[in-house]
Every structure is written in C-alpha cells, then in structure tokens.
C-alpha cells in the first residue's frame, strides 16, 4: 500500500495530541507500519501546532511534506489556511469552523483573515464543521476534538466499529461514553 499522509493542525492546548493517539492506535491495530510526529514544549503554549501521521507498508520519514497530505485536519480556521499547501491536489481538508485570534491579532498588529473557508473551497475539497456547537449539544465542549475526528474518519479506511473500539482503549475510562458519542456525532454528520 502506498503511504498515507495525515496532518492534524491547530492551536496548542486544543487537544490535537489525543486525536493523533487515537489515529496511532487504529493504524497499529490494522497492522500497518506507522510514524507520528508531534510538537511538545514551548509551541504547545497557545502556538501553532502540527502533528504528522504516516502509515503504509513501510514508512521512512515521520513528517508529511508540502503537497503530500491526503487528509488535513484543522482544529482552527487560520491554521487550516496556514497549512493548506501541505495538501495533495485531491486531498481532503477537514476544518473546524472556529476562530482563535493569535496574539498578533489581539494586539492589533495583524488582522484575522476574512472568508477563509470560502477561499479554501475555491480549489480544494473542504469539509467544514462547527465541532464546538456539536460538542455543546452533547453537553461537553471538551470533546469537540473527537467530533472533528469523527468527520475526518469518513475520509479514512477504517470502520466505525474499529474507531469506537480504539477510542474506548485510548481515552480515560470515565470519558469513553461521551467521546464515543462525540465521534458518532461527527461520523454521521
């Protein structure tokens, strides 16, 4: 199998690492070779963060390079725009319809770009979701990251049952129920 390239981008603290852990779990279970690359340390403090996931028969480098991502999962709109050029021509961009102003915007030295989704849709396959709203409906805003994963899962090669199983093995026991609900909310959207 040709190596599949997935990227997860967002703002430090949004919970991208949980998503990559679930992804790592499901890929390993399916018996593929896999490499994931994450950002720890200073960048996690509200900075722009990116996680790379690659799987296939044999994976060498742990990072996804420009123009190579099959699926780009963006937890925030500006980050979607920042990393959009990593997508393949026919790659899918999953965007959480949320704005988090970077400090450059808060202090007034930059403007948060307008019409990000519209611009991105011009030449890419884009799936947008308001994951925070979905999570609110479920009564727990913290699980919005799993809602996004549910949406993204539709562009990947695993079954709903496989995902639910790995989620139950990855998240803390107390939160399995809510996280599985969040996943389904995204998956069946």
């Amino acid at each position: 199998m040709e190596t599949k390239n997935i990227m997860i981008v967002g703002v430090g603290g949004q919970g991208t690492l949980l998503t990559s852990r679930v992804l790592g779990g499901i890929i390993t279970k399916a018996g593929y070779d896999v490499k994931l690359s994450e950002v720890h340390g200073m960048a996690q403090r509200g900075g722009s963060v990116v996680t790379f996931v690659r799987y296939g028969d044999k994976v060498y480098e742990p990072i996804v390079e420009e123009g190579q991502a099959d699926v780009l999962i963006a937890f925030e709109k500006l980050e979607a725009r920042r990393y959009a050029h990593f997508l393949k021509k026919d790659g899918v961009l999953i965007v959480n319809d949320q704005e988090i102003a970077p400090m450059t915007v808060v202090t007034g030295s930059a403007k948060y770009p307008e019409n990000i989704l519209e611009d991105l849709k011009k030449d890419r396959k884009v799936v947008a979701i308001d994951a925070m709203a979905e999570a609110r409906k479920l009564g727990n805003t913290k699980c919005f990251n799993v809602v996004i994963l549910g949406v993204a899962a539709k562009s990947m090669d695993f079954t709903k049952e496989q995902w639910l199983e790995v989620i139950s093995e990855t998240v803390p026991a107390k939160t399995v129920g809510i996280n599985q609900k969040a996943f389904i909310a995204g998956f069946e959207k």
Binding site: G24, V34, L36, S37, G46
Partner: protein, 581 residues
Amino acid sequence: MGKTKIMLGNEAIARGAYEAGVKVSAAYPGTPSTEVSETIAKYDEVYAEWSPNEKVAAEVAIGASLSGVRAMVSMKHVGLNVASDPLYTCSYIGVNGGLVVIVADDPGIYSSQNEQDTRMIARAAMLPVLEPSDSEEARVFTKRAFELSEEYDTPVILRTTTRLSHSQGVVNLCDRENIPDKPYERNMQKNVMMPANAKSRHIFVEQRLKRMAEDASSFDINKTEYNDTSVGVITSGIAYQYVKEVMPSASVLKLGCVHPLPKKLICEFAEKVDKLYIIEELEPVIEEQVKSWGIEASGKDIFTVQGEYSANMIREKLLKEPVLYTADKDAPARPPILCPGCPHRSVYSVLKKLKIHAAGDIGCYTLGAVAPLNVVDTTVCMGASISTLHGMEKAKGKDYIKNWVATIGDSTFLHTGVNSLMNMVYNKATGTVIILDNSTTGMTGHQEHAATGRTLKNEETYAINLYELCKAMGIEHVYEADAFDIDELEKIIKRETQRDAVSVIITKAPCALLKTFVPKGKCHTIPDKCVKCGQCLVPGCPAITRNEDNTVTIDDTMCNGCGLCMKRCKFGAIGFVPNEK
C-alpha cells in the same frame, strides 16, 4: 518476544534502558528529553529521580555506575553544558556498571535558546556517540550503548533530536535482562582524578578512542546498503529517513556510531561510489573528518547548518527538483503565548505598569519578552537572570538597576539560580529578584522539583521552602505574595526596587495547566458598563478578544477565572461567576 508497541523515540530510549537492566536514572527536565525520565520512572525495577540540575544528575549516575550498576542520565543539549564538568572527567575515569548519557538536540530550535550540536562536545570530551534514526533503533541502540560502555570502559552518549524524540514508531518489546551488579573495588589510580592519575588516564582515553574507531568499522550499528553506486550518501539519525524517502536507489552508509567514525568502512564506501554526499543535520561533524582524510564529498556546500532537514530539502538541493507549493505568507503568525489564567501574566502586568525591565530566565515566563507584555529584556540560560542583574549593578551602580528586577521560575531558581543569589549576598549587591513560584516545572510539561513535595516516582517528600532558603542565605527582605494580588504586588515591587539591599519577592499561584488546578470560576463581560478603554486587553490574555465596536468578548471555554481582567477594569464591566463546589 513478538510484542510490539507504538512509542515516542524518548519512550523507546527508556524501554531500551529498562531492557538493558538499568538500575538508576537521573535527569533534570528539558524539552525534548523529558519523556525519557517520565517513562523510565514507571518501571518499578528502576530508581529514577529528578535532580535539581543536569550536573547533579550526571554525578548521581556516575556514582551509581562506580558502585557497579547500569546507570543513565538524560538531558537536553544545553543541559549537557551544565553537566559537562563531571562528564569531561568521567570520560577519564570510565565506568564500572555501564553509563549512558542521553542527550537530545533541538535542530530547528523548537523549545531552546540555541541550536548547538552535541557531537562537538562529545568529540572534545572524547566520548563515543550513538545516534538512532527511529523509535525501534532508539530502543536497540540504548541497549547497545550500555554494552559498549562496559566493553570500552567509557560513558556513552546516545544522541537524539527533537524530531526523533517526539516521533512515534513501532517498537518490538523484549524482556528485561538480568544484569548482575559488578563488584566495587577501590581503584585510586582510576577513580581519583588528581594530576598524577589524570595524566595516565588521558593516555588511556586517547587509546580507548583509537581502539573504538578501529572496531567501529565492524559495529553492527554502522550499515552499508549498496544499490546504485553512482550516488552514495553517508548519513545518520533522522536524516537517514529523509534520504530513504527521496533516494531509494542510492547507496547509503548509515552510521549508528557517529563518534568515533569507522574510518575503514567510510573509506571503502567512498571508494565504491562515484559521487559522495554527506547528509547530517547541524554541524559538519562527519563531513569535516571525512574530508580531512582526503576524501571528496559534498555536504554543507549545498545543505544548511541551521534547522531541521526534510525530504523536500533534499529533493530541492541535491536532486535539483523544484518543489512546487505556495505557503500562505499572509496568514498572521501564531507564536506561543502565556495561557489563560497564567500567574506569570499577572506579575508581568504589574512590571509593565511600573515600566520595570526584567532580566529573564528559561521557562514559560520567557514569553514575557514579547508583545503585549514586553517586560523581559534578556534571556541567556538557566539561572542567568539573577547573575546578569548582579553584573549590571556591579558595572553601572545600584541606582542603575532601580527599574530592573530578575524574574526566575521556582524550578529554574533551584536549578542554578540559587547559586547566583548566594553570589549577590556574598558580594554585597543590591537588587530585586522575583521568584515566579507556580509550584511546578511548567514549560517542559509539569515535572516535580525539590520544592513541590513530590518525587519523579510520585512519592511524597520534604518540600524545600523557598522563603526559608532565601532567609537562610542571610537575605533580610524576603516576601511572599499572591501572584494575582496586583495591588499588593505593585506596592511591594515599588518599595523593594528602591531598597539598597537584596530583596526576594516570591509570587505564588499554581500553573493553570496543572492537573490539580481547578478554576475558581469564569469571567464574563457586562457590556452595558464597558467604556471600551481596552485596559482588560493590556496583559494579553488569549481568552479575551476585542470586538469590532471595541467592546470585548471573553471565551468561556478558554477562561480559567484568574480575574486579572476584572481587577484591571475600573468600570465594573467584567463579572465573575464562581464555580459550584
């Protein structure tokens, strides 16, 4: 056997050490090395500790090795500078039980103050260096490092990089080896490094390295992969993966032992290939040695010494393939920032108001240097805030630093700041030191330290009292204050910066990311009362954004209820809803 697990490079290093029978592990946290210790601490068979700094940690591991057990110490690249004093000399002493030094470099400077290359220090200290290229190799090479350490009577450095340390890959799990302790025998000539003994040990070290260099050509961790011989690449570590990605048909000499170099193997390889490239991140350490043997090769003439490498970079520079993509240059940057509810922001907001400069230090609070706070003027290395302030005072006089303070975190203070404070007292300095006590080592992901009351193994222990420690040094003016009590803080800082004596202000409030942190409530706006003055925005909390009409919105999913914005609002336009108990 047969069990596999997906692991970070750092977790795999810890697994390798565990399988190698390591009994003692010591470290000070530092990105990207921290998870090595956090992982090894989970094995009951291994004693693991956070030491106050890397020098202490190295000496703990040296002592354990001398006593006859396998021991390791781990650190980030700049931690090696702190630990280099014991390590340079331990190179002379050698080992009893195997001794492995894990050092994590940070090409690309993701979370560091410089981009130094550990191999340069290893060459100066005459210590061997192994370099794995994925998680499985991290496990295997760590075990190999213990074996080589005992075989050659030398500490061995296992070098990793951020990308390797923080990438996960599939790892094969093996059982822990049963390594019996070696007997301890007094050996004054070997273990007491005074001039007469050190002279003969220096000769031993030179011979040891020479012997290892000869043997290295047959080390199983140095591998040649012959394919098309028109192009040959010598590489190591993570760079190997980029080479394999881009040039699957090239011949490759993959070095697992990057110091000393296997000269015979390299010469043979160079002989067989038409065009030789050397691809190594950071300094041209392999390249310069290979070229000094009269071998022609291409390396830093086309590749950079800065930052991380990538497959695309090799495509562009070596294969001359244009990489067609357009990055969005107009997307506003998103640099890291202090979190909502961070106590550092509160202290810095007071310093900003008083127009005070801060000699800064290493930690999250370094972020006080950037807009909108702009308070921190200098950052050098761990502990330097206090001593650089002292240097300024000695150079320019006590009045010159009346609008200066030193700011340092609790963990960093105990790392090396305490020495600098001792120096201020001893050398009759004046000046104000603010210890930003958030009860943890924050930036690296919340590790315990000597003043938190818990060990790396999560056992309860005595918590060193920072106030009493400063008092015991003879400092009369030591004050503790709530980091969020900005009126009280302002009063103390104004008073103490004018004092002709050493003052220490310990500002206290826990890091908002600690698992034990429970927000007291949430702030919200009362739009009718807002006069659009923007005072709440001054400290730069990411949970508050300005609306188009210049009123503000507080994001209730981000707010940690510190109340700083509310205290700054003179118009009662920010309310607070306490959390239900």
